[in-house]
Symmetry: D3
Subunit: 254 residues, 6 copies
């Protein structure tokens, strides 16, 4: 189906009747180093989610563009809300849809900082038996391919992200800045000191805002990432569409 | 400037330095009767807000697509969050921008149900001296013109809204359904009983979800509404850009 | 019946059994310019509400005297609580009554700043099917008569309010200060700048604290306002007493 | 001075300038057995508080009529709000006054169930150095006299309360029901079982709603209670008016 | 049974099946003058609670060591959480147990400052019919004996507390500091001024942090206190184990 | 120093003066399969934390025994509080200590489910410049050694945890149940379906409650884990004690 926001309520009545699942893209607007746009994460989530507009059994919600990014705030242009607010916004939006009968939702997530809040929202929606709304992080879905394609631990504005956006929105990537991104990047996320993870803000461990090796970015590899991720997302949607709602709820104790 | 989300953090550093004001479009995804898409309100807000991408002195934030629409929930496709959650999301997003030096923000609003929450957010941001972020409702800005163009009290999915979207997104309007919209519409918002306003949900007083006389809709009139609204928005941005920040804060008592 | 607070629990058992509706007066303690007392709004609400002590089918709750008046805080003597606190206080009080079987309540409101919170409280009580508790604003109920009697847009400490209190509590009105009130008054509420309503605090647009033309005040006109408002309130109570509780709850979707 | 609510903002400016202290009466609307009206506690608080209208150095706030009375809810006519809501309402009201320069407030309390919330509010206001607002419970102030006058442990709708109201509002007391009140009363508050206090609701331990020996009530003894309490309240106001604000704030650590 | 925390989930399945009641010790870590350790209150609660490990019908939860002690914060070593946080922590812990079938719980409390929060938690758990979880304060359970043994009003780090801990943990008591404790102690809790209780922090009325007459402390008297308290706790557990769950819930109204 | 709870306030004054850091052990009481006790996680945290009682520069707080374990609730004996409550309890406890001058704290954590809440608490304490309180998860500190010692991905009640507790509390481990633990265990945490992590509750993917290969457990390996972890914790404490407080606070933007 097409995007829910583009349908009239009359048409949506049919869409919702036919829908087995929904797709809700969420991301962030936050620094991604000197080579990638601030909207990287919501653009990625949206791109994956919008591939579901082809499906007869799915409705696609509008994109939530600002997320849990306080840890990037020292870099210009970063917007953010607190984890509780983000969690509530997502949870209530999903609840409002679930009340109309679509109670299986994949929250397509473009930003690692959102993960905790999305897990809590999903957990609570499931506990209440309102909806089953697991987050799907695109980078988790393509991690094996990314390991093959790139030599990095990565984590933020890295080769994988840069490649993906290069494929999706070539106009917004600045390849000439990838060197600078990498020069100021850290190897991995955070700063481990004797077993404690001490990097609370990105600026604690990365000068450019990037983490990983963005100079390895390549739009063709981005295409592969996108297509692999898309295929896995659709496999998930197929699986979820088939799954009985009853099987989604929490199990009883022993 | 272009959209903030499309800029790198490096470029945004310059943008924010140059910016006197910001523009934050917010709307809703909710029923607008049988002729208009669910995304009407965020599409309208976005269209007005994006006219500011031409300005050197403004940054334009991404669009918040789901708002305070619980009162439309009996109509299919309506999404919503509670007023507290919406207020917090807007307030925190504006705060995160204000911390980077842009403390005058126009919240371009497409949905009447958001107004109370936006006023509360603006009030609190001002009290704290974090930011001056008044909401700007496009329909308020064009009310005189709308009174000239249409014979309706209106309020929701009416001739004014239908005309505006017909102008902006002809592909998403279904002119053949305007008759049905009007046939099931109420004349005015709510249901007044001996001085009490009792219509808590739209369905309490409107069968089609519309309020007003949508059959008077006309894309040319929509163009006039858009251009008038746009001009007023830019006049507001000019005025606000000039206004010293100190003049924006609350006055002391007598 | 007489006031609930003046009845023993034993007598109240009978009252509640017999009651079809309840009346809950709420107001504020806030500046009303140099001619009217700070308690104007709760006095007005109480006066209307207490006319229901004559009815066999109504219980009358005690008056809540402090409301959502932060926007008047720069004027001496203004007391206020936040909108959430006011909403909760009203909602919980109504819930406690509803648990005893009286689930239709008219919240007689004397202060415009309370309206948003009262609407939210009423909406939530209705959603939960706890109670149907619409607010009734006296000025809305008499707006046609006020338009006939006075040449003003008004809004606060205006001719209508001044007249009403002059009728109700002549001892508390200072007619000699009406000139000063009007001299420092604004014509209408708030300050509209290119379509944005920017007056967040009364002091932003009114020097005296008044909005309207208080010099037109007249106790005889106040009597007319009071009697008209009273009659409309009783018509509402009649209507609500007759209305089946089931008809008060939210309708299901289409 | 007279009641704050009866003053204009202009007059209040002078009152607040002259005021060293404020008095804020709070109570409840809850069952007081078959002989006393539901408003007992707010009537008592108001009566004590209004004696301060004679003082040049005090402003008297309006009365908050509904309190923390959930434990009486099984008896008809009881209204209540939760302890958090009550605490916030009081705290915010006091804060709004304190912002105008009157930062020493006696909260004259008529209801034991409010005490915890009032202590928490006072503690927080003091911690923040917003205001010093200790609660004053009238029964604590007259406990020695009550012990002399009556042979009871008491606690609710007992001889002391009944006497006080008989003195204050003879029209609202039903002496013929005092026998029934006592017949169904418990000796003391709650129900102690092996050291645990298990009476969470009044109905757990009292059939009539009363606790104590109301048949000992006498209006002349009520007069003595009132006058003694009044004198102690004024001694407190004198003491507080003299006390430097700095001496009211928390001490530093050792 | 032994402590719940020392059991495997497999063994706990049997324990919970057999359990009629649970015991949850809660205390504080706060100043107790120069002679007693900061952990006095959680040590006392734990000692009483652990006597229930002998019972076949009881499970014993782990000890919550930090409580509502802000009023002691000016004395070194005092830790605390706010009353809402403490209430929630206790309430949620009890709820998690109740979901497994043990719905009668004695909260063995070692700290007076926790009492209000524990009452609120118990009240709410009972209202929801989740659990019946009354607090049991050891000093209330032994008050008659304490009155016999000591000549003090006491209240904090007094002869009773000092004796109890001397019996329980001789190694942690510093008898040579009891003189200093008493020299700087107040006679009773708080500071009553004309009927208002004004001591919000312990330092307001006690120089040493103690309240009472600690020099009367004696380990043998501590043994008597402990054994008497223990016996009363077990009597309570016997009584509660026998009590049908239905008898624990709130009664309906008249 | 010894445990804070065992010190008088007088002695604590010296301790706090001398202390450069504090150690706060937190864990959970939750199922750990058929071979390990429910208190595994708080016992482990306490054991590591108590090694710091030897240090002159550290104070050791009491152990918080119940954590964020809702996802284990289907297994008997599991206790839990919500993530917000846990976060607040930890944050407020640390704040109360920080107010006394010890503003660098290592939160020694025994339970993975606590991690998100501890990160949020630490982030907020740091943002406010109240304290620098990073969590230290013992399993992260020993992950390299654990990889050498065991052939498992592990995660819960696995060989590493079982070995550690076997070393620390042999009396509480049931080696004969390790087979059953492993037979019902999952290989890794959660259940990944096409890139989405769907295991919200442990019971969704593990029959015994264990995750990993507990039969590899060995007390000697437990000793190695403990000593390695202890050494890393002390290295962290050394590092943190040396680190200037100013270096702990968030960096400013670029």
């Amino acid at each position: 189906m097409t995007l829910l926001g583009e349908r009239t309520t009359t048409a949506a009545a049919d869409d919702l009747e036919a829908a087995a699942v929904a797709v809700f893209p969420v991301g962030s607007t936050e620094q991604h180093g000197p080579a990638l746009p601030l909207g990287m994460d919501h653009m990625a989530a949206e791109a994956f989610a919008h591939t579901a507009t082809d499906r007869e059994d799915a409705v696609v919600l509008p994109t939530l563009p600002v997320g849990v990014s306080e840890h990037h705030r020292q870099f210009d242009g970063t917007l953010y809300v607190g984890p509780e607010t983000f969690e509530e916004y997502v949870r209530e939006t999903v609840s409002s849809l679930a009340a109309q009968g679509v109670r299986k939702v994949v929250v397509v997530n473009g930003h690692g900082g959102n993960s905790g809040a999305l897990r809590r929202a999903a957990r609570r929606l499931r506990e209440e038996r309102t909806a089953f709304a697991p987050p799907w992080n695109w980078w988790d879905a393509v991690d094996e391919l990314a390991d093959e394609l790139f030599d990095e631990d990565g984590g933020h504005a890295d080769a994988a992200e840069s490649s993906l956006l290069w494929h999706l929105r070539e106009d917004l990537v600045r390849p000439d800045a990838l060197e600078a991104a990498e020069a100021g990047a850290s190897e991995g996320w955070g700063e481990s000191v004797h077993g404690a993870v001490l990097g609370f803000d990105t600026i604690d461990f990365s000068e450019s805002g990037a983490v990983g090796r963005p100079t390895q970015a390549d739009p063709e590899k981005g295409r592969q990432l996108f297509e692999t991720g898309r295929d896995r997302l659709h496999a998930l949607l197929d699986w979820l569409a088939e799954r009985p709602l009853e099987a989604c709820w929490p199990r009883d104790g022993r």
